[in-house]
C-alpha cells in the first residue's frame, strides 16, 4: 500500500516539499529575469536620457573649411549638435531638413553644429554641397573620439544644447520635424 507524502500546513495552505521547491525555483527565475531585464534592457530606453540635463562636454576642432570651431564660442545660442558622416544613409536624408531648420530659426539664435565622424573632409563637403546644407558648420572627428566623448552610439545622433551650455534633449537616429518642434520650442522659450 502506498502511503501519502507528508503534508505541511503553512499559513493555512498545505504545501508538499516538492511544491515548495517549485515555488522557490519560480521565484528565483522571476527575480533573475527581472534583474537581467533591469540591467541589460535599460540600454535602449535610457540611452537617450543619459546625457540629458548635463553640461555639454567639450567640443572643439578643425572645421571642414580649415578654420577652428569651438562649442563654447556659441554660448548664448541654442545649438543642435549633429553627429553625422557622408557614408551614413539616414544622415544624407537628414541634412536637408537640418539646413532648412537652421535657416528658418536663424533669427532666434539657433545654430546647427555638425560633428563629421570617421569621415574624410572631401566626401563630407561634397555631401553638404549636394544637400544644400553648406551653411552647416562641422567639426572634423576622424577617429570618432569626439562622438564617444558625447556618449554617441552611432550616426546620426543629435544633442540639443541650451544657451547656458546644457544638453536638453537627445535624438538617437535621424531627427524628424516633429522632434524638432517638440524639443526646440521649449528650450527657446526657457532661455
Amino acid at each position: 500500500v502506498t502511503q501519502p507524502a507528508p503534508v505541511r500546513r503553512v499559513a493555512g495552505v498545505r504545501m508538499r516539499p516538492l511544491a515548495w521547491s517549485v515555488v522557490a525555483l519560480a521565484l528565483l527565475a522571476a527575480l533573475t529575469a527581472g534583474l537581467a531585464g533591469a540591467l541589460g534592457g535599460r540600454n535602449a530606453a535610457d540611452a537617450a536620457a543619459l546625457m540629458t540635463g548635463r553640461t555639454a562636454p567639450p567640443l572643439a576642432g578643425s572645421s571642414l573649411t580649415g578654420g577652428r570651431l569651438d562649442l563654447t564660442d556659441l554660448r548664448g545660442h541654442v545649438v543642435l549638435v549633429n553627429v553625422w558622416a557622408s557614408w551614413c544613409g539616414p544622415c544624407r536624408q537628414e541634412l536637408p531638413l537640418l539646413a532648412k531648420f537652421q535657416q528658418a530659426n536663424r533669427s532666434t539664435g539657433v545654430v546647427v553644429l555638425g560633428v563629421v565622424t570617421r569621415d574624410s573632409a572631401g566626401p563630407a563637403r561634397s555631401l553638404l554641397a549636394s544637400s544644400g546644407a553648406s551653411q552647416i558648420r562641422s567639426i572634423q572627428d576622424p577617429t570618432g573620439a569626439l562622438a564617444v566623448s558625447w556618449g554617441a552610439t552611432g550616426v546620426p545622433e543629435s544633442f540639443l544644447v541650451d544657451r547656458a551650455g546644457r544638453i536638453r534633449a537627445r535624438c538617437i537616429g535621424a531627427v524628424s520635424p516633429a522632434w524638432l518642434d517638440r524639443n526646440v520650442a521649449p528650450v527657446l522659450a526657457a532661455s
Binding site: V7, L35, L39, V148
Partner: protein
Amino acid sequence: MTPVRAERTRRTRRAIGRGAVAVMLLALAAAGLWRAFGSSHHPQSLQARTYAVARGLRCPTCEGQSVADSQSDLARQMDGVIAAQLVAGRSPDQIHAWFAERYGDQVLLDPPAHGLGLLAQAVPIASVVLGLTAVLVQLRRWRRRGRRGPTPIPMVDELRPVDGA
C-alpha cells in the same frame, strides 16, 4: 672506496638532486607568480594596457561582448579613446568612470556595488548560501531518521473519511 664512503657519496648526490629539483620548482613558482600578477598588473605595451581596460567595458551596441572582443566601429572608437587616455596618464579606474558617465553603469562589465548592481551581485551569493543551508538541513534530517529507524506513517487529514462521502 669503502662501503661507508660509497654510501655517503650516494646520499650526498641524492641530497644535491633533491635540492636542485626544489630550486627549480621554486623558480618556476616565482616565474608563474610574476607572470600572473606582476606582468598583468603592469602590462608593458600600450596595446596590452588598452586591451586590459577594454576587457572591463561592455560594447554599447553589441550583445554581451566586451569592447576588447567586439569588432564594431564603436568598440574601435572606444579603443582609441582608451589608448589616448592611458597616454595622458589616466588610470584604468578613471577611464572606466569616464565611460560610465557617458554610457551609464551598464557599460561596466563589473558594475559598481550599489543599487541594482549590488542586487545583481548579492542574489547569486544568497542563492548559493540558501541552497547549501537547505542541503545541510536535509542531510541532518536524513541522518536522524537513519538513527531512529523507519519513519512512522504520518496521520494526515487526507486519510480521514470526508463527511458525507
